[in-house]
């Protein structure tokens, strides 16, 4: 009767002793496991490039952003001005480099604000039940349905010189709802897991259950909602700047496009308006790539789908019809044997 016990004991002994130092680095590594894939790394590299440009803008930029050279107006790219000049003789590349700062600061600030709101409301709505949950969910949906940009335009236009914080705050207020919705759904499914029930049965406090037991399991979702809001905030900021409701003192890529359109850059002076748009798209692609990586980490089917199908095709099987093919062939053999 004791044999199984000793066997289990033996297997336990067979496990290699884990060195203590593993704990911290392992935990650290685990927290970033969702970024450990080609797509996320590519995205992080592009993002890292923009961050470096923003941080060291003063060193990289060949000219000041508003430094005017009246001898070189609307010049096509040359060695002196790699991306040409504006109608005032300002260097487009330098404006682009300095503009990165505004975009990233507002984007990340808005992302942080929005994520805080989304986690607070989404996780609470997922953990509580009944009327409280329903009303928080209704609030989230209201913010989803109300069109954000018109609201932003109206609020921003009321201020003569809105600060970066205010702009980020408005972008966050109109952008948190999607993350809040996803977090609520995920929290609801976590709430009924046994390990949460076990923590409750042990008498852990609600705050500890949410912060220690549940939040670590939501990191991937939180990261993805953060990246998503940053993407939306970058688009929102550049759009507001392009419309002209954000003062031109806040230099960002949208401001460059605003000047370009106001001063008849279209369509001849392509160097003035193409790079800014490409930068917005490139940053957007980088953020989306990070999120695809997280998506595939959360839903492994997305990752394996392509790989499996390719592997099948290599072996000469057409994915999608593989099962049918096998079935048909067995049916045929059966009929033959009959």
């Amino acid at each position: 009767m004791t044999i199984p016990t000793t066997m289990a004991n033996a297997t336990a002994q067979a496990l290699k002793p884990a060195p203590r130092s593993r704990s911290f680095s392992a935990r650290f590594g685990q927290s970033f496991a969702m970024f450990r894939n080609g797509k996320s790394i590519t995205g992080l590299c592009i993002l890292g490039f923009f961050v470096l440009v923003a941080v060291f803008g003063d060193l990289i930029a060949p000219y000041g952003p508003l430094e005017k050279d009246f001898t070189a107006l609307r010049q096509a790219p040359s060695l002196a001005h790699l991306l040409g000049t504006t109608h005032m003789g300002e260097d487009v590349l330098s404006q682009l480099i300095y503009g990165t700062r505004g975009v990233l600061i507002v984007g990340f600030l808005a992302g942080i604000f929005a994520t805080i709101i989304a986690v607070a409301i989404g996780v609470t709505a997922g953990y509580v039940s009944g009327f409280k949950s329903e009303s928080l969910s209704a609030l989230t949906n209201v913010f989803l349905v109300i069109p954000g940009l018109p609201l932003m335009i109206i609020v921003a236009s009321q201020y003569d010189n809105p600060s970066l914080f205010l702009i980020a705050g408005v972008l966050a207020l109109t952008g948190w709802a999607w993350g809040g919705r996803v977090l609520r759904a995920q929290t609801m499914s976590l709430r009924n897991r046994d390990f949460v029930q076990a923590a409750r049965a042990n008498g852990e406090s609600l705050f500890r259950i949410i912060t220690v037991e549940m939040l670590p399991n939501l990191t991937a979702i939180i990261a993805s909602s953060f990246v998503g809001t940053v993407t939306a905030a970058v688009l929102g900021l550049t759009t507001l700047a392009f419309i002209g409701v954000i003062p031109i003192t806040n230099l960002n890529w949208g401001t460059i496009l605003f000047w370009a359109q106001q001063n008849g850059a279209f369509p001849d002076f392509w160097w003035w308006y193409v790079p800014a748009g490409v930068c917005i798209a490139l940053l957007g692609v980088a953020l989306s790539l990070i999120n695809f990586g997280i998506d595939e980490y959360v839903n492994p089917r997305l990752r394996s789908a392509g790989e499996r199908a390719r592997a099948l095709r290599k072996r000469g099987i057409k994915p999608g019809s593989s099962i049918t093919a096998v079935r048909v062939s067995t049916e045929k053999t059966e009929r033959l044997t009959e």
Binding site: P4, L15, R20, S23, F195, Q197, A201, N202, G203
Partner: protein, 276 residues
Amino acid sequence: MTTLEFSHVSKRYRVRGSGHMLALDDVSFTLESGQTLALVGQSGSGKSTIAKILTQLERATSGDILLDGKPIPRRGKALRRYRQQVRMVFQDPFASLNPYHTIRHHIERPLRLDHVVPEAEVETEVNRLLERVQLDPAGTIDRRPHELSGGQRQRVAIARALASRPSLLIADEPVSMLDVSIRLGVLNLLADLQRESQLGVLYITHDLATARHFSDEIMVLHHGEVVERGPADDVILRPQHPYTLALRNASPDPDRHFAGSAPSGGGPSTSARTPS
């Protein structure tokens, strides 16, 4: 000596669209330290509801639960003291451990929460508990649940339940999710621990064979009602209630099978053979 009294407890669930569902109907029993009581019944009979009410994950609709004659406190420190006395081992060791945290975290938490040992001794106590459930502390303490086998995880869950030094343990189908080959090991461990610490164990199962082997008494639950209760051997060998008889006949009996008495009944009996 601790006594838990479950007296005239009913639990009603509200079901959307169709009114109410009576999960427990006037159930009474007592559980004392040092005693193993098996709670037997099929899925949906109300077994897990009893476990949830005992751990206060849910509240009874009516009736009293008394620990040493005192009702369960509603909240606060008093409720925590009750929970420190009554601990539970969940059915699914794959779900009951937090995938994010190490084994150390799982066992440390109840120690800290209930101040079982002084802060300086927490580490040694965790090691002692792991050894007690026959796990190698050095090889498991810094691992995460997904790095362990099902049997090892259930041992960790048992160690966690024992950490607060409870006097009563609820084991909700503790081996049904494990491979057949390691079930007996976990059950033997539970039996040993029960003897050593004079634990009162409520063993919830639908496997009559292990219920008979590991418990002093058996209580049969059917549609939320206790239909039969008595010493283990009596209930199995001389069932009084037709439902117990049906349960017994549905469980595998090696003798009957080898005799080849019912080859045509092979289909349903194989499905009932692996108690899951």
